[in-house]
Each structure stands twice: as structure tokens, then as C-alpha cells.
Symmetry: C2
Subunit: 123 residues, 2 copies
Amino acid sequence: MAASELRQEDACRTRAVLDLVGDKWSLLVVRYLSQGPHRFTELKREIDGISQRMLTVTLRALERDGILTRTVHNVMPPHVSYELTPMGRTLREAALPLLEWSVTNLAHIDAARAEYDARTSPA
Amino acid sequence: MAASELRQEDACRTRAVLDLVGDKWSLLVVRYLSQGPHRFTELKREIDGISQRMLTVTLRALERDGILTRTVHNVMPPHVSYELTPMGRTLREAALPLLEWSVTNLAHIDAARAEYDARTSPA
DNA sequence: CTGAATCCTGTATGATACTG
DNA sequence: CAGTATCATACAGGATTCAG
């Protein structure tokens, strides 16, 4: 489908994407897993500021949606690895333009904010 | 920048995008404005389920970030029109792949959820 | 190590009424 | 018409504790 062909009836899809990856951590998890399989503690360490609880919740949701797989290795000590599914990898690809946009425009946005704030609350 | 060149140090950017458009309504507003300038009431009517308050809050945030412009026409009755800035239009373009991904994979996700639920809560 | 369970709080969001 | 102000609420998210 060409980008320009998205139509009105896709509005609900917008909500669907946001419900999926619009939370605070999902895209970050997908980001790190795109570099290869990771273990729980690795993700916990790499994703700055995430709590155990939110990592668990986020991983469960993404597993349920078929974005990643959870594999338990029955060894001692216990071992669980998470890995993107093929669909998870396509999600990562689809999210990249937005991330690139962010990298490109963040400075511009900061400038816009500063100007707006100066304009609305002068002195 | 090539998609494959995004690196670890861009992690913070992921948060920046989500802070910008990861809320419930921003992308929907951008969506409708990509079809041309709209007035407050038009947006209110077209975006299903949004409250006056959230439309106001969302529009203000997007205006502050330089995504759209707010133009007050001094006529009677009052008249305010909202329009995407050039940066706003590039944001819309950057978000399109994710929306297309959603359209393509939503059925797949529903299936994954159903299977997951069946697997975890059997009967 | 990898979680699950519980409790607690802030923020986002919504409903309603009022105003230039 | 296009908001603002106020109040109410739900859910995300954090801290802590417990368990296989």
C-alpha cells in the first residue's frame, strides 16, 4: 500500500497502534531486542529507569501480541530469553522512520518550545 | 540517515517521540490536519470520543512543539483554524509506515492474542 | 535469576458548568 | 464558536516484598 493511500477509515488503526506501542516502554523493549535475544536482567539493566514490574508487564503484553517470544531454559540457575518474532522485526522496521524523524527534528522542537514559552509567558 | 544506522545512543530519542505523539490523541489530530486546515469544532466532531478539554490540551501541546499553527480570525462569530506546519507534515509522513504496519498486522495480532489467551487460560 | 503479588501515588483523561 | 475552570476517576507506573 502506498503511503498516500491511507484513508479516513483507517482512523481506528491509529488508535490500535497507540494501544500497542504507545505506552512508555514497549518501543524501547523492541529496540533492544532488535539487536538480538536478551535475558530479563539484561533488559532490566539496559533500559534505563524501567522497574521490574513494568518490564514484566511490557514483556507479557508484547508476547501476547505476538511481537516477541519467551523461552524458558530449564537450567540452574533459571534462564529466560526474549526474542523478536518475524512480526516483531517488521514492527521495528515500521517504527524506524518515526525515530529518525525524532533525531532529525528534536532540536527544532526544542527551539519551537522555547519560542512558544517566551511568547506566552513573557518575563 | 539510513534506517540501519540507528544506534544505541538514540535510545533517548525513542522516549522523545513517545512523549510527543505517544498520547491518546496527538496522532489523530495530526491525521485530520494532514487533510488541510480545520476549525476547533470540526476537529471535535471528527475525532470520535475526544472531549473539549483533551482537544484543547492536545492542540496546545502540538502548537508548542511547532507541529501546528493556531490562527485566530477576528470576526463575529469567533473563528480559529489549525493547520500543520511543514515540520508537522514531515511528522505525518514519518508516522505513516507505522500506521500501514498496523493495517497490515492487526488481524495477525488479534490471532496471536486469541492463541495466547487460549494457551494461558485453558477452559 | 526471574518473576508474581501487593500497595500506593501521580498523571492523564473525562464530565460538567461557565465565559468572552 | 472556542475555549477555561473545576471536580472526579481510572489507570499507568513505582516501591516493596515474597516465591519457584
